[in-house]
Amino acid sequence: MLAQRAASFTKRSIKAESKRAGLRLAVSMVDLTTLEGADSPELVRALCRRAISPCPTPLDPPVPSVAAVCIYPRLVPIVREALAGSSVRVASVATGFPSGQAPLEMRLQDTQAAIEAGADEIDMVISRGAFLAGRFDEVADEVRAVQEVCGDAHLKVILETGELETPDNIRRCADLVIDAASRDRAVQDGEVFVKTSTGKMSPAATMPSVLLLLESVRDHFNATGVRIGVKPAGGIRRAKAALHLLVMVRETVGQDWLTPDLFRIGASSLLDDLVRQLLWTSRGCYAAMHDVAVT
């Protein structure tokens, strides 16, 4: 029934005004990401320009900026500078991304470095090995330790749902992380996110895995009144997939979550298709890929 329910969201028909509004909303939720070994300062600066104004052609109303640019810690200073004065936030992966296999000390140092360089948000990975071996306290402890280092920076916890494999594991892990992050402190709405994947493996943000996170977040809200954010990432390339995600958010946790403060989509190429579809809604014909992709 999980797969059936997740598939039902893809059957919603999003047309006309709801499509236009949905595409713009999706743009505003994108964590524009590049996590390659070959990332250069120049490339990242170009990405930042695109993050601030995603559409080269002016549209009315204007296409919003994306939510954040997500990079490795080393590039945080460059991104910080390039995004200065904009609403776009600086997100850095940390804690030994993507495998999380480094010793905890090094992972905390990694986080510390990103924070000191000016990251607004930290995307951490958990020790999937510890979770799969049943050492749940270890996972909870590391989430709290990273949270400590983060201070005011927002924390997104990557579960890597593809490695957790089963729905039971994914749901249990989400509950564990949310509980660990909010056990000893008053968490503000949107201060903590659960995120599906690193984007470095497949399967990543499948509809069922995102649904499980949303359900966990919904149940936490019903119990505590605190809104945890959700970020699907990995393999979301098409505007249609982004709209399906918005439908799922709307029908699972409700309208409140339809804001970049509580829902993000981690992606690199998705923005191109979103812009292309937005151009289509205004022009009535499709823009070529080379018209929209400027990075």
């Binding site: 029934m1 999980l2 059936q4 329910r5 059957k11 919603r12 028909s13 999003i14 047309k15 006309a16 005004e17 709801s18 499509k19 509004a21 949905g22 713009r24 909303l25 505003s28 109303p61 204007p62 919003p64 900026s65 609403s87 729905p167 359900e215 019903n222 918005l246 709307r250 029908e251 309208q255 339809l258 804001t259 970049p260």
Partner: protein, 485 residues
């Protein structure tokens, strides 16, 4: 946030209307399909078929009287010997051709089904039509393999079959009835329900297009009286009926007196049992599918929900939240979850049972935010808590989007209460524990038991009930048995 985003946040993001634009051609008047042709009724009488979502007339339909039924029976009898003698692989070809033709016309038929019956296009498009095609494909495969289906026997067709089908899945029920009968070499007189005859009549056109020999399938339209004439005709060698238990009883008396074999698929009051260890969100989906699929116009609807007491409160809250997400409205909008009630008569029955439920002291939960459309037949999805086993709502089939929620403490209590009904069509069990599934499933008085799922249909899976839900099976090898001797 930019201005545009805050505008979205303030107004909320909703779905724009997404109407299905395909419009099938609907004639103003339909005759009776007899001997391969549409004929004017000798009765000279017609009746209207209504779009329940708007209250508007879609077409005038012929009403068959005794003479008309006689003509249909004569055609079926005349076509019988040649059709029965035909090699199975040749009969199979007709069925394959029909299945493919149905797939080609799937969109038009789905729209027609939604217009005539009120069910959401999402369901007629994604559930009804694929299953209709599958049913013909599946039985086309059996047509030349009957000697393996019935090992050691040489089976022969029964002859003329009288088949009477209901209004909740008009085309799908026609497929369930026609496909096995034709595969086994029988000829048929089919009577669709009076509120939903259109798709069966369009199916008749497809039968013409595939050159099915005249008389092999005859379709006569009309109400209960026509059905009685069809079932009690002297040419009939087999009766198959899907519908109410009341009519089923009458048919049983009449066919028993004439020693005519009969299969019945009647009403239900099926239980859905949710244990505390079940994955709640998934059980909720099963309950939703169980009771609100096709506005609850489903004979196997899971209309009694038993929840383990320790999770009752959580479950009811989750069900309320989920119910809020159901979108009621235009059946032809692709985002509609709950369409129109099939007919005014059915709407009144649902209203009266809900009123009785309230009078008897059960608590109604109804969360539809939007007002119901002003025209047409509508009833919001709802459920009752505080239902006692003696309440009318716990005993009588509503055949509408109305669920009765009850609780239990132990598995024994769940089994006892689930079985405490005259019906026995389906049951759903929700638990994470495999041993519990085997134990409970084996003790359900029901023809179908779904475990951690609900409403799964397949042409290869026999469907049918026990007790007052009927006897005989449709689909699978078991479904063929009724059509051979």
């Amino acid at each position: 946030m930019t201005q545009a985003d805050s505008a979205v946040a303030a107004a909320g993001w909703d779905y724009s209307p997404a109407p299905e634009r395909t419009r099938p051609e609907i004639d103003s008047e339909y005759g009776l399909f007899i001997d391969g042709e549409f004929k004017k009724p000798r009765s000279g009488k017609v009746f209207d078929t209504i779009n329940p979502a708007t209250g508007e007339r879609l077409a005038r339909i012929a009403e068959a009287n005794e003479d008309d039924v006689d003509a249909a029976m004569a055609a079926a009898r005349a076509a019988g010997p040649k059709w029965a003698r035909m090699k199975g692989r040749e009969r199979g070809k007709y069925l394959f051709r029909l299945a493919r033709r149905i797939q080609e016309c799937a969109r038009e038929l789905a729209v027609l089904e939604s217009m005539d019956g009120g069910k959401p296009i999402r369901e007629s498009r994604d559930v009804d039509l694929p299953l209709v095609a599958q049913h013909f494909f599946y039985h086309a495969g059996w047509a030349d393999k009957l000697q393996w289906a019935f090992a050691g026997r040489t089976v022969r067709p029964r002859g003329v079959c009288a088949q009477i089908i209901p209004w909740n899945f008009p085309l799908l029920m026609a497929a369930w009835k026609l496909a096995p009968a034709l595969a086994c070499g029988n000829t048929v007189v089919l009577k669709p329900a009076e509120t939903t005859p259109l798709t069966a009549l369009h199916l008749a056109r497809l039968l013409q297009e595939i050159d099915l020999p005249p008389g092999v399938v005859n379709i006569v339209t009309g109400a209960g009286e026509t059905g009685r004439l069809v079932a009690s005709h002297s040419a009939v060698r087999k009766v198959a009926f899907t519908g109410s238990t009341e009519v089923g009883r009458t048919l049983m008396r009449e066919t028993a007196a004439r020693e005519i074999p009969l299969t019945l698929e009647l009403g239900g009051k099926s239980p859905n049992i949710v244990f505390a260890d079940a994955p709640i969100d998934q059980a909720i989906e099963g309950v939703v599918s169980g009771i609100w699929f096709n506005q609850g116009h489903v004979c196997c609807a899971g209309s009694r929900l038993f929840v383990e007491e320790s999770i009752l409160e959580t479950f009811v809250a989750a069900l309320r939240d989920r119910m809020k997400q159901l979108r009621l409205g235009d059946p032809l909008d692709k985002n509609t979850d709950i369409g129109a009630i099939n007919s005014q008569g059915q709407l009144e029955r649902i209203r009266s049972l809900v009123r009785i439920g309230q009078e008897e002291g059960a608590i109604l939960h109804d969360v539809q935010a939007a007002p119901l459309p002003s025209k047409g037949c509508w009833f919001p999805p709802c459920f009752f808590t505080g239902v006692q086993p003696s309440h009318t709502l716990a005993r009588e089939e509503v055949f509408g989007p109305v669920l009765s929620v009850m609780s239990f403490r132990t598995p024994e209590e769940a089994i006892r209460r689930a079985n405490a009904t005259p019906y026995g069509l389906a049951a759903g069990i929700w638990t994470d524990k495999g041993s519990k599934i085997f134990e409970i499933a084996s003790r359900m008085d029901a023809g179908i038991v779904w475990c951690n799922t609900y409403n799964q249909f397949d042409a290869a899976a026999p469907f049918g009930g026990v007790k007052e839900s009927g006897f005989g099976r449709e689909g699978g090898l078991h479904g063929l048995r009724a059509y051979v001797r």
